[in-house]
């Protein structure tokens, strides 16, 4: 075994620690750390584990509601009460840099990591969603990453047996070389099944379960906490983590079985910073100490140093603190599932994390200080110069479109707007037999039944629950106005839930930004968090956890700031579940919300898909997002749905009114290669003072296209108005064309043609 290097200023820098941080370490432990200890500090104090640059910002998020059983930051994931003694646990997490280096394994292990976070809480994972960003598909390297990431997610989720029920994918040059892979998982449990990641009970043995530790993913947390450069990527290439979903499935089943015995005092997955993070965090939470001996840790590669064993991010491993005297139960259950396990240490009362190797102490650090006393920074923020330019943008230079024919086709074909079936058909979205609304509508809906809870399905019963999920973020809008754009991301998520018949109950966010040391990028982050926080308050959907991924840049600069928002809602009754597709010939089409926001000089075209696709411009102030209006809209729509009046509901987002209307005309695929269409005949000729391009393709907020039976139309419009939501009947469902009459003329498209462009666009690009 090679001797540890002596600590030099270079080594400290390589570990991503500043001189003052190093001084602080010395102050905390009262001496110089050895090399292993330095490694431990470096990962624990990385942005990924300590949130040192964002902790102060995150304090602004609302985190409480009567439903919150475990709040943000307390444990691996938050937990919300959903009634009848049931609860859900969910969280989103990024695996951006590993996916840039090795797309298949990077995304696969991202899924594996988030699933582990969920079952560590004692919950049975029941569905997954994801949010992805890539460069433009015309670039072959982008296609390689896209293909790899999607098949990696599919591989892990499908094999593990979790349905991937929703997601989003955008393509924009800013993500070239630095794709975003954000994976979300949700699990279900009873209130009394909540498990804790605390090392409780002095003298309790500490177990390691799962496959042997190798040199994979060495210091991945640190890697995620610096700019993605050719050098850092190269370094990481030598240490790619390989996921084993089969192993994780066994590990989950065994852990859930073990948790039900009551023999577990604490449980924690080994995610970022592996053994290091799990031991010191459990000790910190338990207010105890932990002592382990690395010689007892199963090892895959010969001659691993303590430094390597502690910092390895080998996948599918768990740390379990067992009630003393009940070791046999652990062994019996893990043997049943043919899973490797080892007793590696015990809980102490010293408050220290003591790591030995063959009896010799290699690290001896105060656990609580290590976990909780990372430095906290208030970074400098400065409004970027481009913001001014954006504010000065006007439409004067662009002539209004006389003929929208081709524009709609181009928008539907634009990969960010086009159908994502090439992606979700690779994901098993139906396993566990709970998926009521499959990918393709505004939000997914799954039911929670007896076998969704750990140990469930053996007779006992509870009323079925319906959970809706959506993930959204229009990062171009966030780039152009981080505050408004971020509010809008939350509002869009909530709107998608409302369209599906759900009331939001909680949020998890993934802040994907650039380097926080750059004041302009930090400003984006600060403004964005401000918007997100207000949004979550408005919808009474507290943040229950999330993830921060900074340093997302390529040599050309930072990515568009991308605060991915995933929101979870409850549908009260199965009759309320609503999809976006028109249902019957002759139904009335009603628009809730104003056609165009009259206070917006750009009439909704700022930052729109239309400007990007047709005019090659990523510019203009995006439409403002009024949270009160959005909340009223959501409540009204929900009321209409619950009264049984609404047959379909679809919100307007990228591509505006025309795109949303077209999407409502394409049904969910009835079966393989078998689309169903229902056309629409819409009259907007009253809107004489609005530009035609803004009318059709503007992205003003707060608009939903619904359909209802002809007889109910008047009632729906009246009720909406009564609630303070502008609303009007704009047309009728039927035929095989999409017809829009405007003050400028009549426009018509064959639905089959539009569908073909929209449905096959990504598949064709990937062929």
């Amino acid at each position: 075994m090679p001797a540890d290097p002596t600590i030099t200023p270079e080594i400290i820098t390589e570990h991503g620690l500043t001189t003052s941080e190093y001084d602080r370490i010395k102050e905390i432990i009262g001496r110089d750390p050895n090399f292993t200890e330095l490694g431990i500090f470096s990962v624990m104090w990385s942005e990924h584990c300590s949130y040192k640059n964002t902790r102060l910002l995150l304090k602004n998020f609302p985190v409480k509601s009567p439903r919150v059983l475990v709040g943000a930051g307390e444990e691996n994931a938050g937990i919300l009460d959903i009634g009848d003694n049931l609860a859900i646990s969910f969280k989103i997490e990024s695996h951006n840099h590993p996916s840039a280096v090795e797309p298949f394994q990077g995304s696969a292990t991202g899924v594996g990591g988030i699933i582990r976070d969920i079952f560590t809480m004692g919950a049975r994972p029941v569905c997954a969603i994801n949010s992805l960003r890539f460069g433009e598909l015309s670039n072959s390297e982008v296609r390689r990453l896209f293909r790899g990431v999607v098949s990696g997610i599919a591989h892990y989720g499908n094999c593990f047996g979790i349905p991937t029920v929703a997601g989003e994918v955008y393509f924009d040059k800013s993500y070239e070389g630095n794709p975003l892979v954000n994976a979300f998982a949700l699990g279900v449990l009873r209130h009394d099944q909540i498990a804790r990641g605390a090392a409780k009970g002095v003298g309790n043995p500490v177990f390691y379960v799962g496959p042997a530790t190798g040199r994979d993913g060495l210091a991945g947390a640190a890697f995620a906490s610096q700019d993605l450069t050719e050098e850092s990527a190269e370094q990481q290439r030598g240490a790619v983590q390989v996921g084993d979903p089969f192993m994780e499935k066994l590990c989950m089943e065994a852990c859930l079985e073990l948790l039900s015995t009551g023999a577990v005092a604490g449980i924690q997955d080994m995610g970022a910073a592996g053994l290091t993070c799990s031991t010191c965090e459990t000790a910190a939470r338990g207010g105890t100490g932990v002592e382990i001996d690395l010689a007892k840790v199963p090892q895959r590669s010969p001659g691993m140093t303590p430094y390597e064993i502690l910092l390895s991010e080998s996948q599918e491993r768990m740390l379990i603190i067992v009630e003393k005297g009940r070791e046999e139960e652990v062994k019996r259950i893990f043997d049943k599932w043919d899973l490797p396990w080892a007793e590696i240490g015990s809980v102490t009362d010293t408050g220290q994390m003591v790591v030995k190797n063959h009896g010799e102490v290699v690290a001896d650090l105060p656990a609580a200080k290590l976990a909780d006393e990372a430095p906290v920074y208030q970074r400098e923020a400065k409004e970027p110069s481009y913001i001014n330019e954006v504010g000065n943008f006007t439409l004067d230079a662009f002539e209004d479109q006389g003929d929208p024919q081709e524009t709609l086709e181009k928008l539907l074909e634009w990969p960010s707007v086009a159908s994502k079936n090439w992606v979700y058909r690779q994901y098993d979205h139906m396993v566990r037999a709970n998926t009521m609304v499959n990918p393709g509508s505004d939000a997914a809906v799954i039911r929670i039944k007896a076998d969704s809870v750990p140990g469930g399905g053996t007779g006992e019963d509870f009323p079925e629950k319906l959970i809706a999920l959506a993930v959204d973020c229009n990062a171009v809008h966030v780039y152009l106005d981080p505050y408004e754009g971020s509010k809008a991301a939350v509002a869009e998520c909530a709107r998608n839930l409302a369209c599906t018949g759900a009331v939001p109950i909680g949020t998890t966010d993934n802040l994907n930004f650039g380097n926080p040391h750059n004041p302009e990028l930090f400003w984006q982050l600060r403004e964005s968090v401000r918007g997100l926080a207000e949004g979550c308050v408005a919808f009474n959907a507290p943040v229950t956890g999330g993830n921060v991924s900074l340093y997302n840049q390529n040599p050309d600069g930072a990515i568009d700031p991308t605060p991915t928002i995933a929101m979870v809602g409850l549908v009260d009754q199965k009759e309320h579940v609503t999809t976006q597709w028109f249902k019957d010939e002759g139904d009335a089409i009603i628009l809730l919300g104003d056609l165009v926001d009259s206070s917006d000089d750009l009439e909704g075209l700022g930052g729109s898909a239309y400007l990007q696709v047709i005019h090659g411009q990523k510019n203009g102030s995006p439409p403002a997002c009024d949270l009160t209006t959005e909340r009223t809209l959501g409540a009204t729509l929900l009321g209409l749905i619950q009264s049984g009046l609404v047959k379909s509901a679809h919100d307007c987002a990228e591509g505006g009114f025309a795109v949303a209307l077209a999407e409502s005309c394409f049904s969910e695929l009835h079966g393989r290669n078998t689309p169903c269409f229902l056309g629409a005949d819409v009259n907007l000729s009253d809107s004489v003072d609005i530009r035609l391009d803004a009318l059709l393709f503007g992205e003003s907020r707060g608009r939903v296209i619904i359909s209802c039976s002809d007889l109910d139309a008047v009632k729906v419009v009246e009720r909406a108005k009564l609630m303070g939501v502008p609303s009007q009947r704009i047309g009728t469902v039927g035929g095989d064309q999409l017809k829009i009459k405007s003050s400028r003329g009549e426009h018509a498209w064959e639905i089959a043609v539009l569908h073909d462009l929209w449905w096959n666009s990504i598949g064709n690009a990937m062929a």
């Binding site: 090795e102 298949f104 496959p211 983590q241 390989v242 084993d244 895959r300 590669s301 996948q315």
Partner: protein, 96 residues
Amino acid sequence: MPLDPWALNDVFQGELLMKAKVIITPKAEVLDPQGKTVQTALEQMGCTGVREVRVGKYVEVEMDGDHDTIKTKLSEYADKFLANPNIEDYRLKLED
């Protein structure tokens, strides 16, 4: 389409046809869950004495050209396409 072994006129038309083999294996330090699972399965079936199993891929390419050209060509494509350099090693073997 499988090659008709009797259609040797390809060769007589002045071109050479060779079979190249690319053996792709997971890198030594990379986890090979498949190999591990196969190893356990072998043991459980009673196949004793197995110390390690690694599972890789075997790609057989039949192509026109002489030894050297094929070697150069295939190495290039093995590097950038057939094998994933992040997690795999490969060996190229040509007939003869």
